[in-house]
């Protein structure tokens, strides 16, 4: 309880007050939440002592939502309303989801989109749901679990995503976290999170490969670990390959064996559940017994041997080796350069996967960390750092964008603007011109992928540039800047260079949700708790404002000499005004005053960074600078 958090008089926790932050592994099959307690990363269990929350969401007719084991227990009985592996649908359209006929769900097109385009939706008894909303339900449960365990509101969370997730999938994940009321400190790539947990734990140095086969996604990342720097050299993978596909193989085998066709959603889900159990059994045993009763009373009774399973899934395992070879080539490295191979994801427990990886690298993979938990543990360590809880040791993470970003040019070709494996954040500016006299608008189609044809790449968004001043054809010079931030997310801005006019950029995300949709979802999910929301907004604004004041005060004490008297007075005036608004019950007033203070400190922030940079170059230790 919050009441028990008493600090000793005279022992102020400021400015090193511990801020509550968590790492969340939002997995295809299971999700976990972890945090750093007393310097050690730990997974937070539910009230029954279970760490893993099955990523299953069931919608009830009365509008209720059930998440986790209770939902999982009903996945066969109420298959159409019980969503499993929703991660596979994040940022994906109907045409991306193969074998719809075999799926137990009733899909729908995104509202207002052409048929087959836009992020798919699921029809449930509680209405049409976007994968973003379904994922948010999982995140909400983890958030409450964490807040109950930690006894307070979270400052923020690091959410992990597969390294090979494209922009649409990343954005969808971030939107889901927003919808769950989480402040996203960072989207962190799953293999990178694992590398942090492994590397810090073992003080590892050298080049490592992280082989991450999860429930629905496969990633391979090659990292160089040296003196506290985690540098991703190359990432590759397949965002639609995972343990689920091995279940599918067994499922198909069962259908064939028993000459079954066109099963209903219930039976499909039931057989898939048995298939998964058999797969897990074959990790320890030479054979698995599969017995199930179908809804028409037919009894399924089969024995699957490990050899049979390996034979039917061999090409899935081989399929993971191609991204592996590509990542090595991109990193300009050979197998002999790899010092260790870290295995991540429950699916790496399968003996055939371990053998294949061992054979490929010519060394036994490292399995001393729990492959189910290592991602959440690493994310928690990163969250702790990003929240501003500095421990003794500090490290730097340099990650990459996994897939090239490009734009559509003449003839439906994709021109690469930012190549894959570029270290983020990164930006590229490109100039365009008008082709007609008096043209005031143009459209730019942004795609992601490695293929030459736009149609073979993933469409991310179409940007409409409006407000270009009318000129003769070819005279306008529109500079479009593509900025990829540290979450691996793309932002686009445009400016007409000869006039300096900022062209408005209207984004039509191909698979994402427009801001209006997010707002609607937020309103819907909170309409029952309007008052709570008000109070919460108030508390959040107050906390943020207090943190801001504290940060500015700290900066003034350290680097106040960078300011002249007028500048200092201006900042102090804004601080005073913000302090005044804290006494009022108007969160908008607080927000306005906080923004004003923020704006007043831009120059100061730049000067502080410059000072820090200059000192590094003159040989001062970074730790001496007190740069937070």
């Amino acid at each position: 309880m919050a009441l028990l958090q008493i600090s000793e008089p005279g022992l102020s926790t400021l400015p090193h007050q511990h801020r509550l932050a968590v790492g969340i592994d939002l997995g295809t099959t299971n999700s976990l939440v972890a945090t750093v307690r007393n310097g050690i990363s730990v997974v937070l269990n539910d009230e029954n002592g279970r760490a893993m929350l099955p990523s299953v969401v069931r919608y009830l007719a009365d509008g209720g939502v059930v998440v986790g084991e209770a939902a999982q227990a009903m996945q066969s009985e109420d298959a159409a309303n019980t969503i499993v592996s929703v991660k596979r649908f994040m940022g994906r359209g109907l045409k991306d989801v193969g074998e719809i006929s075999r799926s137990p769900y009733r899909f729908a097109d995104a509202p207002g989109s052409e048929q087959g385009s836009g992020m798919l939706q699921l029809r449930t008894v509680a209405g049409v749901k976007s994968p973003v909303e379904v994922s948010a339900e999982i995140l909400k449960v983890l958030r409450s679990r964490a807040e109950a365990a930690l006894g307070g509101e979270l400052v923020g969370a690091v959410i992990t995503v597969p390294a090979y997730f494209d922009d649409a999938q990343r954005q969808a994940t971030k939107d889901a976290a927003r919808l769950a009321g989480l402040n996203v400190l960072r989207l962190l790539n799953e293999p990178t999170a694992a590398a942090i947990a492994y590397g810090l734990d073992n003080a590892a140095e050298g080049i490592y490969a992280v082989y991450d086969l999860g429930g629905g996604t496969f990633d391979i990342s090659i990292l160089r670990l040296s003196r506290g720097v985690f540098e991703v050299l190359a990432a590759n993978g397949d965002s639609a390959l995972g343990g689920d596909d091995f279940d599918q193989r067994i499922h198909c085998w069962l259908l064939e064996r028993n000459r079954l066709s066109a099963l209903g959603p219930q039976d499909t889900r039931r057989l898939l559940t048995h298939a998964r159990a058999a797969k897990e059994q074959l990790t320890e045993h030479a054979e698995a017994h599969i017995t199930a009763v179908l809804s028409n009373g037919e009894v399924i009774d089969n024995v699957l041997t490990r050899d049979e399973f390996q034979a039917m899934s061999q090409n899935l395992v081989e399929h993971t080796l191609q991204p592996l070879r590509r990542a090595l080539r991109d990193a300009k490295l050979g197998v002999a350069d790899i010092k260790g191979v870290v295995m991540v994801g429950g699916a790496t427990r399968m003996p055939q996967v371990q053998h294949a990886v061992e054979e490929f690298f010519g060394q036994t993979p490292l399995t001393n960390l729990d492959p189910d938990k290592v991602v959440a543990l690493g994310a928690a360590i990163q969250a702790n750092l990003l929240a501003g809880n500095r421990g003794g040791d500090d490290w730097l993470l340099l990650d990459v964008i996994p897939l090239s970003l490009g734009i559509e040019t003449m003839g439906g070709l994709a021109e690469k603007i930012i190549p894959r494996n570029s270290t983020i954040p990164t930006a590229r500016a490109q100039e365009f011109t008008t082709y007609k006299d008096g043209q005031t608008a143009m459209s730019i189609h942004v795609v992601q992928g490695e293929r030459e044809l736009v149609n073979d790449c993933r469409s991310l968004a179409k940007f409409e540039l409006r407000g270009i001043p009318p000129m003769v054809a070819g005279a306008a010079r529109i500079r479009v800047t593509f900025q990829v931030d540290a979450d691996g997310l793309l932002n686009v801005s445009a400016r007409e260079m000869s006039s300096g006019i900022e062209a408005a950029v209207a984004v039509k995300p191909s698979y994402g949700l427009a801001d209006a949709e997010i707002t609607r979802m937020l309103q819907e999910s909170t309409q029952h708790a309007q008052n709570d929301m008000q109070a919460r907004a108030m508390r959040e604004q107050q906390t943020e404002a207090e943190q801001l004041l504290e940060a500015v005060q700290h900066a003034l004490e350290l680097d106040g000499d960078l300011l002249n008297q007028a500048e200092r007075t201006q900042i102090e005036t804004q601080m005073g005004m913000l302090r005044n608004t804290l006494q009022q019950a108007d969160h908008l007033a607080i927000k306005r005053a906080a923004t004003a203070l923020n704006d007043a400190t831009v120059g100061f922030a730049q000067a502080r960074m410059n000072k820090g940079v200059a000192l590094v170059l003159t040989g001062k230790n970074i730790a001496e600078l007190g740069v937070k």
Binding site: L185, I424, V613, V616
Partner: protein, 180 residues
Amino acid sequence: MHPASFNFQQNHFQLFGLAQSCQIDTAQLEQQYHALQALVHPDKSTHLPDAEQRVAMQRATLVNEAYQTLRSPLRRARYLLSLYGVDTQEETNTVMPLDFLMEQMEWREAVSEARQARDEAALAQLEARLQRETRELEAQLAVKIDAKKDYAAAAGLVRKLRFMEKLAEEIHAAYDAIDT
């Protein structure tokens, strides 16, 4: 505000505290890169106000860009020449020595044949030879820029190296194509 003693208006060499030259100490470059990112990377300012986060992203982007430019010998030389006001005319000047162009044609045919035949060994051989010849051109380039200050000749070498870079990209794409 005091004019800061250091700012990002400086060129990439100054940013990393390196002498402005074609030959650089790559270990020092990497070390400075890590030291700069340790300061400006957005991960260091997630708990700070928005203004500082925006500044951090812009700076980390610039440090990454500068590092990528200086790390590659070709990009480094091109950048250095641009500092000296020399346009390498890679898009406009297509006049290349005939023997060089002939050789390029042969290279391309060899790569395309190896791709068709899915012959990884042949690709590896081509790649090794390409790397050797690229290194030679890069060494010549350093002499032209640093010692002789013959920037016109250096621009010619940059144009040649651009061809070599495209070849390397084709070999890379061929590997990927074979592996599909």
